[in-house]
Amino acid sequence: MPREISLLQAINEALHLAMQADPDVILLGEDVAGGSGRADQGIEEAWGGVMGATKGLYKAFGPGRVRDTPISEMGFLGAAVGAAATGLRPVVELMFMDFLGVALDPLLNQAAKLRYMFGGKARVPLTVRTLVGAGLRAAAQHSQTLYGITAAIPGLKTVCPSNPADAKGLLLAAIRDDDPVIFCEPKSILFASGPCPEGEHAVPIGKAALAREGSDVTLVGVGRTVHVALEAAEALAREGTSAEVLDLRSLSPLDEDGILGSLGKTGRLVVIDEAPPRCGIASDVAALCVDRGFDLLNGPVKKVTAPHAPVPFSPVLEDAYVPNAARVIAAVREIG
């Protein structure tokens, strides 16, 4: 049996590997080390990231390559874009994806567009790691699932793993990719363990993964909702419905052929996303089905998403806010 580690540890391993292998990889972010400037008091790497994802990196690679930043997201992300365009391969931690609010321009108008605006003469090998999703009772400004914004932007790639092995493989791929990649870390499953290869591990950006085979209906998930889909599939199996579960992994590029391939088998599809319903991944998947997949369809495509509302604080409300297996099962029954 392969060893099991948490998704967080997988991220940490990927960062160690990438920094070890390539001196151009540097790490920037708030408290990625912690306690900077206090070496004289015997304090070093006090945190290693707010969740601990960057533990040990400062000690291993030093203050030149692992840098705590001020709380200046636009500034350090913009600097990372400039560094990427001039020869470094920066990995930036944008603590919560909600902070896109104060960090969008370097992604929207710089990283995504430099290559195009410069007629193909620039490369921006930037990786942005960022926490997404609800589940920590962190309320409206620390729980959003905003990868729809970055997936919408031509010039960026966006990925979101659902398990440790994919986290490791996708993060390594992201760092080594010559385009800017947004790497989303679903905070509710950060501490969940799963098998993960030791050493190098490659997962291609742009390919969905089959998380469970089935023949009656396709459940498409991403990050945490893959687990929701799997739970629903398990329950559906007990009542005789065979659900296939597809883990998107990559949101841009979107694995259109992978999705259509599964739809071709099942003829029915439910897409589950923790983002609200508008202008997101779930709509894209549904739109794909009704365009290229139209002849494969045997029923409506249902979106099971968060409601069109901010994320509430109260545990009771937050639990009701996020998609769950019951809602997926209900959707499957509706299109049955």
Binding site: S36, R38, A46, S72, F99, Q141, L317
Partner: protein, 322 residues
């Protein structure tokens, strides 16, 4: 500076309330009774209370993730705050906001804010309302040393300065932004230095000393009310707990914390001063302590008995109309 007896007692009561509230939260989290990210204001009481002592409901506060103290200083009801943190329908925000979004517009409290620096322009906007409507109100933006490196700090101070808005910018410099010391993150040790770049007064107060904050905030607020524009008031302070409850605290020496707690506690300093000057008697303060302790217990009881919201509440209050 001497204050009327009743106002001295009010100030002490507010500071004690904050301290007791925060200590209680720490206890509740340890007991596993509370969820979410809680950033406690203990240690910084003199700042919020010293400023609030000049204000009334027509004046506004925009706060931070560390917002309980600002709420309490601004007169927000404690039991509704507690119920909010418990995620109950009787909470200030019906349980929808939680600690990082606790607000009470009726008290002029424009909300805690989970986005570092984002409260600053909100305060500027409230000051704009006051100016346009000639309400005579003054608006206060609280923010940390860490927030002073956010672009929103810069844009807000410039805007308020050119429009001479009635706003007070209060930098709560507690030496850290999360685990990062301010002396590392900021290019200047004193946030107040930056006032020069906006052509406004920059003033430093001892944020552990209610009287110093009170005096300097008072002057700045008077200036704002006179229409002479904003002031940047930096209060040197310290947070007694970690950045949030759960923080490993590895970025600062235990002795540093101990020393601050022993020698710089704003409640102790207040008591020493008022006793020394013969303004307040110890038993007056002990009576307040007891009152406040009871209030806090009552608040917890209220919170625990308040019903949870229901799933249908998830989608209400998004819009006035949609």
């Amino acid at each position: 500076m001497e204050l009327p007896h009743s106002r001295l007692l009010d100030a002490y009561r507010a500071m004690r309330r904050i301290r007791a509230f925060e200590d209680k939260l720490s206890e509740l989290v340890t007991a596993g009774k509370l969820a979410g990210f809680l950033h406690l204001y203990a240690g910084e009481e003199a700042v919020a209370v010293g400023v609030a002592a000049h204000l009334s409901d027509r004046d506004t506060f925009a706060s931070t993730h560390r917002g309980h103290g600002h709420c309490i200083a601004k007169g927000v009801e404690i039991r509704a705050m507690m119920a909010e943190l418990f995620g109950r329908s009787g909470g200030l925000c019906k349980g929808k906001g939680g600690s990082m979004h606790i607000a009470d517009l009726d008290r002029g409290m424009l909300g805690a804010n989970g986005i570092v620096g984002a409260g600053i322009p909100l305060a500027v906007g409230a000051a704009l309302t006051a100016q346009v409507k000639r309400s005579g109100g003054v608006s206060v933006a609280f923010f940390g040393d860490g927030a002073s490196n956010q672009g929103q700090f810069h844009e807000s101070l410039n805007l308020a300065a050119i429009w001479k808005l009635p706003v007070l910018f209060v930098a709560e410099n507690n030496g850290y932004g999360e685990a990062t010391p301010n002396e590392y993150a900021s290019s200047v040790p004193d946030v107040a230095t930056r006032a020069t770049g906006y052509g406004i007064p920059g003033v430093i107060a001892d944020g552990m000393d209610f009287f110093d904050v009170f005096e300097k905030a008072g002057a700045a607020i008077e200036r704002a009310r006179r229409g002479e524009g904003p002031t940047l008031l930096e209060c040197k302070t310290y947070r007694f707990y970690g950045h949030y409850l759960g923080d490993n605290l590895a970025y600062r020496r235990k002795e540093e914390v101990e020393e601050m707690r022993q020698t710089r506690d704003p409640l102790d300093l207040f008591e020493r001063r008022t006793a020394g000057e013969g303004w307040l008697a110890s038993d007056e303060l002990r009576a307040i302590d007891a009152e406040v302790a009871a209030e806090i217990e009552a608040a917890v009881a209220y919170a625990e008995s308040s019903p949870f919201p229901t799933p249908a509440d998830v989608t209400t209050d998004v819009y006035v109309r949609y």
